[in-house]
């Protein structure tokens, strides 16, 4: 309906291959960015940053990472929480052991550690598939949980692995107000979203998808499963690791291994399923859905006068049924709904 594509013809492949080939889309995205970077920090109340925006952004990042692995490369993983933990504790160790190391470097190093662990636990994917792999990745989850609980060195000998960081500082910009934290996350999220997009529209991304869609055919056209899968594990884990570091440093501030337990893994998996496998945008939709929904449900239930215990049970139930509902109603997630809607707008007033 809003699309006026006449005259938007492409005279070069560069123009044809850009991320948003349609001008109206470019404008929309631009508007969104302005909103996110300028309007929101200026207007939003603290609660919004703390309770919704920051967790949303960080979890989007993690979901994005997971989506690379599950959505684009078709390798299911239940070890996400563990990898986030690796990211968080890795970054923490860098920070406490190397003095004067910039925050960004620490965060990225967290990602690097996560990538290493991810690749390690990705090796089985060369032999095993699907559900078997899902369980194999649980090993990563539990092993990480355990390590940060029991291996004291990793947590700098703090009791029960609970650590904390304070006074975040990015190259002289001290990040302490929620708004600033939000901006830091936003910045990184946008960056990684762009990087991910570039990767999946590059040949490495096509290799991942080829493996996902038809691994035999992929092998026959010369794609090495080893390289494709492990690179997917690496990239995915790296992003997840950074997200984990952010979760610890920026959102929690002080945390213990429990913050990254198996539930986190499931939560992230839900995000990409509901948001849409194999879609960058879907990762954001899913994160938004799963961050906001429980809050609404909780408050709704409490508002309806249930005591909190019952409220939390109700939340679980509604949550569970919603997941099922989504799987039945739209297996391809919110991203698909979005895509369909967009296509309808482009064809408007015609149905097809």
């Amino acid at each position: 309906m809003f699309y006026r594509e006449n005259g938007q013809f492409k005279t070069s492949y560069a123009a044809d291959q850009q991320i948003f080939p349609v001008m109206q889309d470019r404008l929309a995205v631009l508007g969104l960015l302005v909103l996110a970077f300028v309007a929101v920090p200026a207007l939003a109340p603290e609660y919004l940053f703390r309770a919704i925006l920051i967790p949303f952004l960080i979890l989007s990042l993690a979901a994005l990472g997971l989506n690379v692995l599950v959505g684009y490369c078709g390798q299911i993983s239940l070890g996400t929480g563990g990898l986030m933990a690796v990211g968080a504790y890795g970054a923490y160790n860098i920070l406490v052991r190397i003095d004067g190391v910039p925050l960004i470097v620490a965060l990225l190093m967290g990602g690097v550690f996560a990538a290493l662990v991810g690749v390690l636990f990705g090796i089985p994917s060369l032999r095993i598939r699907g559900l078997y792999l899902a369980v194999a990745t649980l090993a990563a989850q539990f092993f990480c949980d355990w390590s940060f609980l029991r291996i004291k060195w990793l947590t700098n000998y703090s009791s029960s692995g609970s650590v904390s960081v304070a006074g975040l500082n990015v190259f002289g910009w001290s990040v302490d107000t929620p708004a600033e934290k939000y901006l830091l996350c936003l910045l990184l999220v946008c960056l990684f979203a762009l990087i991910t997009k570039n990767l999946i529209r590059g040949h490495i991304g096509r290799e991942w998808m080829a493996i996902r869609d038809m691994d035999v055919a992929a092998a026959v056209i010369g794609i090495r499963p080893v390289y494709a899968k492990l690179s997917a594990f690496a990239v995915s884990s790296f992003i997840i690791g950074v997200a984990g570091a952010l979760w610890g440093f920026v959102f929690l501030g002080s945390w213990e291994p429990a913050a990254f337990n198996i539930d986190r893994s499931f939560q992230l998996l839900f995000m990409i399923i509901i948001g849409g496998l194999g879609s960058v945008m879907g990762s954001f939709f899913g994160a938004a859905f799963i961050v906001v929904l429980p809050i609404l449900l909780d408050q709704g239930a409490v508002a309806l006068g249930f005591d909190t215990a019952i409220a939390s049970h109700l939340t679980l139930m509604i949550f569970g049924s919603l997941i099922v509902f989504f799987l039945i109603a739209e297996p391809h997630g919110l991203a698909r709904l979005w895509a369909v809607g967009k296509e309808k707008l482009r064809l408007w007033p015609f149905p097809h």
Partner: protein, 321 residues
């Protein structure tokens, strides 16, 4: 399992056997849960994450009904109460099974494995919430009047003998009986054979007129029954509480080890894991700072997979081009 590892005792054989038996005991329970997985996976290709939630749910039902029923009908007979409660709980599980088939799986036929897995995760959340909403969220006791006091075996062989819980023995017997029963059921009943047919080939089964949806309800009911038994045993040992829901996670490496589609695999895998876990905890654990139970099973399963991707008894997959 409640025992204090003390360095001087570890050396002797008796202690080793004791640990071994302890492992077998918990292994039996893993096997029971794993059995639930395998049944459902065989029949409907669903990797049922909700098995743990079903254990919790059924155990809760059993525990609370055992309290409520006497007080509804005003009698004190513990045995009778337990029997009624068991039947009640079983009926509830059948209803649950039926609902799951009708509302969820029936609408997700020929979706990919991962989708179905997610669906069962959804069911897990639902059952956890629903169970606690319905039956309460505290810790409840199931008292089926199993003998509690430990006994000592083979005292003439080792000094001090081997300490074994009668309860565990009972549990073992029950579990074994259950497994045997299921085996019989699969071998000799019409439904059992139908189930096996379905497991082997859905289309074929359908084409010879086996009603898939009914079969699936039955399978889930059976799984529910297995869950119930597991729940009762576990519950009567450690009490019914939310953590029960998590034993599903323990059962995963078991099925992987045993092979997703193999009943004996589930049993043997369970025992292996149970034993391996205990022994490793006692003999390797201390060197690693303890608590390795939580991952040992998985890492074991993982390494095993690298050698034999389809598990102990699972069948090999050849992809045609």
């Amino acid at each position: 399992m409640s025992f204090v590892p003390t360095w001087e005792r570890q050396t002797d054989m008796g202690f080793f056997l004791e640990t071994l038996i302890g492992g077998l005991m918990s292994g039996i329970l893993y096997s029971l849960v794993a059995l639930g997985f395998v049944l459902i996976y065989k029949a409907s290709g669903v990797f049922n994450f909700a098995q743990g939630a079903m254990v919790l749910f059924s155990a809760l039902a059993m525990a609370r009904l055992a309290e409520w029923i006497p007080h509804w009908f005003g009698f004190q007979n513990l045995v009778l109460a337990n029997i009624l409660a068991f039947i009640g709980a079983l009926m509830i599980m059948v209803v649950v099974a039926w609902l799951i088939e009708k509302l969820v799986l029936g609408r997700l036929v020929n979706q990919e494995g991962i989708t179905l897995l997610m669906a069962t995760l959804g069911i897990t959340y639902f059952l956890d919430g629903f169970g606690q909403l319905l039956f309460g969220a505290e810790i409840y006791k199931i008292d089926v009047g199993m003998p509690k006091e430990p006994i000592f075996l083979l005292e003439h062989m080792f000094q001090g003998g081997i300490l074994v819980n009668q309860e565990d023995l009972a549990a073992t017997v029950v579990a074994a009986a259950l497994v045997a029963g299921l085996a019989m059921f699969f071998q000799y009943t019409v439904t059992g054979r139908a189930l096996r047919a379905v497991a082997d080939d859905h289309q074929a089964a359908q084409s010879i007129g086996i009603p898939l949806d009914r079969i699936w309800v039955i399978v889930w009911s059976v799984a529910g029954f297995v869950a119930l038994v597991a729940g009762v045993i576990w519950g009567s040992k450690l009490g019914v509480q939310f953590s029960l829901s998590l034993i599903a996670l323990k059962a995963l490496p078991v099925v992987i080890l045993g092979g997703l589609t193999s009943v004996p695999g589930a049993i043997i895998g369970g025992l292996l894991i149970g034993v391996g876990e205990k022994l490793s905890e006692v003999f390797i654990g201390p060197m690693l700072g303890g608590g390795i139970e939580i991952w040992f099973a998985y890492v074991l399963a993982l390494f095993f997979l690298l050698i034999r991707p389809q598990g102990l008894f699972g069948e090999k997959i050849i992809d045609r081009v």
